[in-house]
Amino acid sequence: MNENVFIENLLIYAVIPLIKIVVIVLVLSGAIAYLTLLERKLIAHIQVRLGPMRVGWHGLLQPIADGLKFLLKEDIVPAKADALIFTIAPAISLIPAFLVFAVVPFGPPDMLQDFLGWTLGWFPFLNLDEATTERIAQNAIASGGYVTDINIAVLFVLSVSSVGILGIILGGWASNSKYPLLGALRSTAQMVSYEVALGFAIIGVLLVAGSLSLVEIVQNQQQEQLWYIFVQPLAFVLFFICGLAETNRLPFDLPEAETELVGGFHTEYSGFRFSLFFLAEYANMIAVSAIGVVLFWGGWLRPFPSFEWLNFLNFIPGVVWFLGKVFLFLYVFIWVRGTLPRFRFDQLMQYGWKIFLPVAMANVIVTAGVILAFL
């Protein structure tokens, strides 16, 4: 009996999550590779160019060629650099960027229920009786469209993504070169400044949602038949702008401003280590999009859940809606890059501290007041 319970828990909390994690990490790496191609193609077409055309049909194999080149290129560690920190900094940047996806709900808690009940029978050596199979399939951690559901997910996302900044500043400092140091300092100053406004913007949603679990936040939107973008539009605008700043995207890509800082914090990086920073940046972009979709755009929910004549849309699984919304976000990210010029650094800091922060604070107070009035 005890052994059975052990196997059951092992399956629920280790084996099934491990499979999901491997799938997510692989899909994410592929998605990032093709996101770079999408970006190059979109920017090219915005500027009336063609973009990559040579490798594969319309450049479709370009990301694979790029990946191979990253792996095969010589990896230079500058003689004056701090070799140990120089080596681990890209990993410190990359791991948190991926780790955010541990709590992102891609689909509803019962997404894999039927699938699990069906596939667990394939492994006779596990000796699972029907009741155990049923229990595993019913368990939200095993069958949910997410790796895990913790009750402090929002805090987890914020704190984990802050660790990514450490990778950037350590990498810039360890290079022992002037451009990377300046880039890292700018990057840190920018990210910490916008993180404050980002935190306040998220509090606005939390006041409405009343939960820190990302799964529960989506479920609350389902119950209220309302996406939080409609009750917290200002918070969303702040979230999106701060998201651009947090991911160092244009118009906030000061840390990598080519015309003044060469490559910013990764000037001295080459080969595979550079590609790790690159992966981290794009993973962060996808993570911000995913969190934005969960907090404001109803996660895996279909549009207009209250319109019954749209019920025929229910056959599309939640995860498709989720990924579609994330894709729209990423499209806008790239679109913004193709449209807006870069800010000056003093403007950037002033916007962050003098406009976004007070507006976000006012949003929290007004939201709290309105909720109080309707309580």
Partner: protein, 118 residues
Amino acid sequence: MLASYVPIVIFILVALSLPVVGLVVGRLIRPYKPHATKLMAYECGVDPEGDARDRFSIRFYIIAILFVVFEVETIFLFPWAIIYRRLALFGFIEMLVFLGILIVGYFYVWKKGALEWV
């Protein structure tokens, strides 16, 4: 409840394997031909002047200190936001007092010019 954190630990290990495997595999197949010029810090093709371990603008420190203050304030607001509906009027007034003190400090910082970059 703590068991739901086990997948996160597994995730850290899987994510860690990505750079480790990449760097190890890369080391086996990529060329390694160091050269004094190649290993020099990049300074637009000119020989680097001095060391990069230098002093930098005080403003970065001020931003760091402000960040710590404001970020801690936000963290305090998270639990408040979650149980706000139960706290109701009491919670609202408490929060106004709390944010009021923060806003006084914010204007002090603004008037002192700590938010000016130039």
